[in-house]
């Protein structure tokens, strides 16, 4: 959908509603919209997830492909992941194609997803197959099929889901004349998930949007348009804050910052519960 135009009357309606704890779509200020998570939707990928928000047009598809790389061929400082964001279907709805505001949107999303993966991958040792010689490289491709506000959070959830769905071929380290090497078992039945330690470190993003003096969670498109500031944080499943941002040129009072970050951690823990129940149901079905 194109960026919404919010009239003065609508803006007033949204702000007055938030003051009375009743939002544009009837939710309370910290309520989230319902999510549907589907795994394994793309057969060609090592892992994939489709996440959509119920009764909205927001839908994100993430595919993860894994490749073994020789670390000697990689330049110093290069990362063991590559992220692409495709917003073609939402760009097509943009009224003025020459402006293409969604190109900036996709660049911003790319930076946010890279930040999320950097927290998980760290120095890359977690993905090493043969220490300091061969490693798995993650290619994360995100397709934004529809938007309805708060897309950075939805994308981070979808990325988490796709990585949780990812399976790697079973590898075994061997010694050869040229030094340490590894073999791969191509049997699908022996495939294994990404290291559990990666998921302890992999955070999800939760954003709160400032409307009047109230912070609302999971803002829809019109609320996001009216918001004067956005506080977003990366939280891992241990409840630890990995990073925070304040965007949209606004400010958040210092005295209330601790309370807002506690709310962010609370919301993140609810989302992790949802994700773990979805994935344990999917794994038992497999």
């Amino acid at each position: 959908a194109a960026m919404p135009h919010v009239s003065r009357g609508e803006r007033r309606f949204i702000e007055e509603g938030v003051r009375q704890n009743v939002r544009y779509d009837g939710r309370a200020v910290l309520d989230l919209r319902h999510l549907i998570v589907q795994n394994g939707v793309i057969e060609f990928c090592n892992g994939s997830t489709l996440v959509e928000r119920v009764h909205t047009s927001a839908k994100v598809l993430v595919g993860v492909k894994v490749e073994a790389v020789d670390l000697r061929d990689e330049s110093e400082g290069s990362e063991l992941f590559d992220v692409t964001i495709d917003c073609t279907s939402v760009e097509a709805g943009e009224e003025d194609p020459s402006q293409r505001r969604f190109r900036d949107f996709s660049r911003r999303l790319e930076a946010l997803v890279e930040e999320q993966l950097r927290e998980a991958v760290g120095d890359g040792s977690i993905l090493h197959v043969v220490p300091n010689r061969f490693a798995w490289s993650l290619a994360v491709d995100v397709i934004v099929l529809g938007t309805d506000g708060n897309m950075s959070d939805l994308v981070s959830l979808a990325v988490f889901g796709a990585l949780a769905d990812t399976v790697l071929p079973k590898s075994e380290q061997i010694e050869t004349e040229d030094g340490p090497d590894f073999t791969i078992d191509t049997e699908v039945s022996t495939a294994q998930a990404l290291p559990a330690a990666l998921f302890d470190r992999l955070p999800i993003r939760v954003s709160l949007f400032k409307l009047c003096d109230t912070m609302v969670a999971d803002a829809c498109e019109k609320e996001e348009e009216c918001a004067t500031a956005c506080l977003s944080a990366l939280v891992n499943r241990n409840g630890e804050l990995c990073s925070t941002h304040i965007d949209k040129g606004g400010a958040v009072p210092l005295t209330s910052l601790h309370g807002h970050l506690s709310n962010v951690c609370q919301i993140a823990s609810e989302l992790f519960k949802l994700l773990s129940s979805e994935f344990s149901a999917a794994n038992s079905a497999r």
Partner: protein, 198 residues
């Protein structure tokens, strides 16, 4: 919707715009595709041209019809899949068309005619024909042929086109069946709502 750029607007009909994007994970080997990828541009031009003739654009003067195609998994015959998917999407959107459009790919290898080519079969070097057909009137909208290794004579082309038409009619049967199923479900839902209101 309204035409984005006034200079593109036509006073007596709608313009059809198509954007095609192929996901990097769509093929077995991941390939990062840039904006303006030649193959995607060729497919989008093909779809635009095909549907500009089929959609009753005179009913939507000064408007724009946007078609967006995401290729999520590809294993050959991408263009026919795009055409068939667009037909279904336009039907679902209620855009009036002259006829349903189906497209089928056909090839020839070692004396055998192959219908609905895979990626490997397309790369084989033999002729690969994509035929777009309006099944009700059996009129051919477009015919695209590529052949690097084998030269095609007129009798072989006739044979390929006949088989491609059979393929298009088979696809039409499947797609029309789906449209009828969807319409039946929508009508029964509407009838249930009417009964509840009554």
């Amino acid at each position: 919707r309204e035409v984005a750029l006034r200079t593109d607007e036509l006073h007596d009909r709608a313009i059809v715009r198509c954007e095609v994007s192929q996901a990097p994970f769509s093929t077995t080997e991941r390939r990062r595709r840039r904006a303006g990828d030649k193959r995607a541009t060729a497919i989008s031009n093909f779809v635009e041209e095909t549907f500009s003739h089929v959609i009753q654009t005179s009913l939507f003067a000064r408007s724009q019809i946007d078609i967006t195609i995401h290729v999520l998994q590809a294993d050959g015959s991408v263009l026919p899949a795009c055409i068939c998917a667009t037909s279904l999407a336009l039907t679902h959107a209620g855009i009036p068309m002259v006829d349903f459009v189906t497209c089928c790919s056909i090839g020839y290898h070692d004396g055998n005619v192959l219908l609905d080519l895979t990626y490997q079969e397309e790369r084989d070097g033999g002729p690969a024909v994509s035929l777009t057909l309006m099944p009700r009137t059996s009129q051919v909208l477009t015919l695209k042929m590529e052949s690097s290794a084998v030269r095609v004579n007129s009798s072989l082309l006739d044979k390929l086109m006949k088989e491609a038409q059979v393929g298009c009619h088979q696809i039409n049967k499947i797609l029309s069946g789906k449209v009828r199923e969807f319409a039946a479900a929508a009508l029964s839902l509407r009838d249930q709502e009417d009964e509840q209101q009554a």
